[in-house]
Amino acid sequence: MHNKNQYLQEELLRTSGVNPKKCMRCGKCSATCPAYDEMEYHPHQFVNMVESGDIEPLLNSKSLYRCLSCFACIDRCPRGVEPAKLVEAVRLAAIRKQGANHLKADDVPAMLDDDIPQQALVSAFRKYAK
């Protein structure tokens, strides 16, 4: 099967360090994911879709910004696949594109309240923008 995303796929696997071939399709990552319901594509789909080269839908999906980086799928995966690392790699591939920041500084004030800690802000910028 011709894979038109071969270069991107290789890049994602290299930067994430994930080997999707280790996945045995048990779905424990998605079973454990706290953000599952807000995701269009779920952790196990990230693994399967990157493996099959079906990456564009992921790049354009809001799912990228719903991963909480809680690492639960990393710890609970029985095969050591570590899906969160793949989500991270795809997310970076998306926001590193020119003008593709998910969060803009102008949007921020509306999101703030008096108590929100700084770490939430810096984390969001790390996760949503480049």
Binding site: L68, S69, F71, A89, P117, V122
Partner: protein
């Protein structure tokens, strides 16, 4: 005992009390926290991507500063701890990454992840000892039923954090026992509160936080302790039925220095 200390941005602003109690308690326990000079924000989240270099340099600088003083590096905030420990681990295990970092920073001696990173809780357990804390308690928190809230960042990824059993941890429970209170075990203590996604999707954070607090309350907890300002924010903001406090505040109370602390 002297250790390097990385407070982090939130502890200088919204969570000043977490910091102040930590410093005061360390004094009582005979630990000198030497704040790293000119530390910079860790970034709040660690990127697992191997080609993210620049965003991890601030952590490496802190680690290197501690290493230069031949001290372990202690953090209180769960997020800072997670970022710094993971960065350190990447310096140890990813030679290509470490090489890039060292070329970029051009230090006199290359840094290879030599610094030992402790969370304040680990410091209490491994360097001070819960037994010693027990001896120093003047105001035991007897009768309090306290639920430890770990969240995600303290324990995971376990391979890197190596702090405790990620599914059945006991470090905070042991801490709670050391100060004379009774720990309440509940399953959601290592589930996510919603984290930074609270900014963009408060609904998600609310759902996650409520699941945690209601699970703790159902297990009979009267109070929750946490080490993370963002966890505390999410739990409190989303209407926890029970109070959520920083573990350092409880410790200060138990050691009898809560009132003296300028929090």
């Amino acid at each position: 005992m002297k250790v390097s200390y990385f407070p982090g941005c939130t502890l200088k602003t919204k969570a000043k009390d977490l910091d102040a109690y930590a410093r005061k308690c360390a004094e009582v326990l005979g630990v000198t926290l030497e704040e790293i000079e000119n530390w910079q924000c860790c970034g709040g989240v660690f990127s697992t991507s191997r080609d993210e270099v620049a965003t991890k340099l601030s952590s490496v600088r802190a680690l290197k500063a501690a290493n230069d003083k031949e001290q372990p590096l202690v953090t209180v905030c769960s997020a800072c701890h997670n970022v710094i420990k993971q960065t350190n681990h990447q310096m140890q295990t990813d030679a290509e990454f470490a090489d890039k970092v060292n070329r970029y920073m051009a230090p006199e001696a290359p840094y290879g992840g030599e610094t030992v990173v402790y969370h304040y809780l680990e410091m209490l357990r491994d360097l001070v000892g819960f037994d010693k804390i027990k001896e120093k308690v003047v105001n035991p928190q007897t009768g309090k039923k306290i639920a430890a809230y770990y969240g995600c960042l303290l324990l995971r990824p376990n391979k890197v954090m190596q702090m405790d059993d990620p599914e059945n941890p006991r470090i905070i429970e042991d801490f709670i026992r050391a100060i004379g209170a009774e720990p309440v075990i509940y399953a959601s203590r290592n589930e996510c509160c919603g984290g930074y996604v609270a900014m963009e999707s408060p609904e998600l954070a609310k759902k996650k936080s409520n699941a945690v607090t209601s699970n703790a309350a159902a297990a009979g907890a009267e109070m929750m302790v946490t080490a993370c300002p963002l966890c505390r924010y999410n739990l409190v903001k989303n209407g926890s039925e029970i109070p959520v406090v920083y573990f350092t505040e409880l410790l200060a109370d138990a050691l009898g220095v809560k009132e003296d602390t300028n929090a």
